[in-house]
């Protein structure tokens, strides 16, 4: 009797949950109906405007084949530039974030003041103004070109958010871990390197990857200093071809493809991390 009970308890409920499946199905249908309605509205609107679609002209925006050689078009070159800007800015932002977070938590008074001033300045001024400041004021002084001005500005901006994420993660590690590391006489650097940072990564990584995805989106802002990334290329194409609808749909679709792919990769990675935890 007792045997039967305990073995029955061990088994999780099996079988198909029809109620749950139906409710998921209904949710999907509802979303589909809303999207279809919105699509129909847009299509009607465009129809009423008498817009002349010229989708047949877009292929050279991506690539052309001349003498059997592929020449990349503006959109692909823009995409590559966007990836370059976002990845370099992303790496710098994480570095800035770590330095700022550690400075804020450190015993050094000067470190705390500098970190706080940086965070407040970035958070309380518009990103566009920061970009102009870096590009028109800072860049000529320290001799930065357009590319690095854009990257630096973006990195400083995202870095302020990274700092908060990282600080939250570091503070999330139990106080006893800091004390145990101190008690065995570890240096501050070793304490963070071997004890605190490894334990805070599970807390830091998910929001940090979210931040890297925003960096891709925010990188569009550097189009105002005419850095030839995806949005700039879109602007140029529109002014040359007047195909605003096609171009902006494509550009939006490319950003979406990029960010969705990254999110998916991150989800897979987290799933893998969780699995190896067990």
């Amino acid at each position: 009797m007792e045997q039967a009970l305990s073995s029955a308890r061990k088994a999780p409920p099996k079988g198909f949950d029809t109620g749950r499946m139906l409710s998921v199905f209904w949710q999907i249908t509802k979303a589909g109906l809303v999207l279809a309605f919105l699509g129909w509205l847009i299509w009607r609107g465009i129809d009423a405007m008498d817009y002349r679609w010229q989708w047949f002209r877009v292929q050279p925006f991506f690539y052309r084949v001349i003498d059997g050689e592929i020449i990349w078009g503006p959109l692909v070159r823009g995409l590559i530039m966007t990836l370059q800007i976002a990845s370099i800015a992303g790496v710098l932002a994480v570095l800035i974030g770590f330095v700022t977070a550690l400075a804020r938590m450190s015993g050094s008074f000067a470190g705390r003041i500098i970190a706080t001033v940086y965070l407040e300045a970035i958070r309380n001024t518009p990103l566009l103004v920061q970009l102009f400041l870096v590009y028109f004021v800072l860049a000529p002084i320290i001799g930065l070109d357009r590319f690095w001005a854009g990257v630096l500005c973006l990195a400083l901006f995202e870095g302020s958010f990274a700092a908060e994420i990282i600080r939250g993660g570091l503070r999330g590690v139990d106080r006893g871990q800091y004390e145990a590391a101190d008690a065995v006489g570890m240096s501050t650097a070793d304490k963070y390197r071997y004890i605190i940072i490894p334990q805070s990564l599970p807390l830091i990584l998910p929001p940090l990857t979210g931040l890297l995805i925003s960096t891709i989106k925010h990188s569009a802002i550097v189009s105002v200093i005419a850095l030839a990334e995806l949005t700039t290329q879109g602007l140029n194409l529109v002014s040359n071809t007047f195909m605003a609808f096609e171009v902006w749909f494509i550009v939006a679709g490319m950003y979406l493809a990029l960010t969705v792919t990254l999110s998916f990769a991150v989800t897979l990675f987290e799933w893998y991390l969780n699995k190896s935890d067990r």
């Binding site: 006893g176 871990q177 101190d182 008690a183 065995v184 071997y194 490894p198 334990q199």
Partner: protein
């Protein structure tokens, strides 16, 4: 030569500490000789933890002087790591590094702080794991062990730094009753080996068997210092008597 070895290992005089307006320690005077075993007891909140945590500067004192092995320990001082390497500490909540194996918990300190080779540190670590009778768990992660096992690992981790003194802050009060004896056995063996120890504990049996002196604290002050025999059978102060009767009632 003889003078340095006769000098107390820990010298505390006029030590005071405040948390804001609250006086957590007041005018603490206490020396601990080499090889001596001191048990500190007293009601909860009487400043026992604060006192021993001042010795390795997990807490900073504000007044008084504190010397460990003749070296002055000052709040915010440079090189506090050097002093901490000579002072092992065992916490109530173990505080093992959960993301490292038991062996790596032990090896990290000697390799990074004493400049020992990994091979040598492993040998040393396995030796101490034998001593605390837990060598077969070397490859496991701390969360996989019982509380008693974790605490014994924590003791071994502190010993791996080859400290001159060991501080214990209620090492058995977070343990299930059946785990306590194993940890106390390890501590008694350590005492027999001649280690200098300051132990915050309410384990009277342990205190009687091991302690050279019992220090009774209340409200941030040292109220009474006596041999365990004297203290447990005939406390001199009312406060100590009251504390002991409460302890026995449980």
């Amino acid at each position: 030569m003889t003078e340095t070895s006769e000098r107390p290992l820990v010298e505390i005089s006029g030590l005071c500490k405040w948390y804001g307006e609250f006086s957590a320690l007041y005018d603490i005077n206490m020396n601990v000789a080499r090889g001596e075993k001191v048990v500190i007891c007293g009601p909860s909140g009487s400043g026992k933890s604060t006192l021993i945590r001042c010795i390795n500067q997990l807490e900073e004192h504000q007044q008084g002087t504190l010397l460990v092995d003749g070296k002055e320990v000052r709040p915010g001082m440079k090189g506090i790591e050097q002093i901490r390497r000579d002072v092992g500490m065992v916490f109530q909540s173990f505080n093992l590094f959960p993301h490292m194996t038991v062996l790596d918990n032990l090896v990290l300190g000697p390799v990074r702080n004493l400049g020992m080779s990994r091979t040598k540190a492993r040998e040393l670590a396995m030796g101490y794991l034998e001593k605390v009778r837990i060598a077969e768990q070397a490859g496991k992660y701390p969360p996989q062990l019982s509380g008693g096992q974790q605490q014994r690992v924590a003791i071994a981790r502190a010993l791996c730094m080859q400290p001159k003194i060991m501080l214990f802050d209620e090492p058995t009060s977070a343990l299930d009753p059946e785990m306590i004896a194993g940890v106390l056995d390890v501590m008694e063996a350590l005492a027999r080996d001649g280690m200098t120890m300051i132990v915050v504990t309410h384990e009277m049996g342990f205190a009687r068997r091991v302690a050279d002196r019992v220090v009774f604290m209340d409200e941030g002050e040292i109220v009474e210092v006596a041999t365990p025999e004297e203290f447990f059978t005939a406390p001199k102060t009312d406060r100590a008597a009251q504390f002991l009767s409460q302890l026995l009632a449980h």
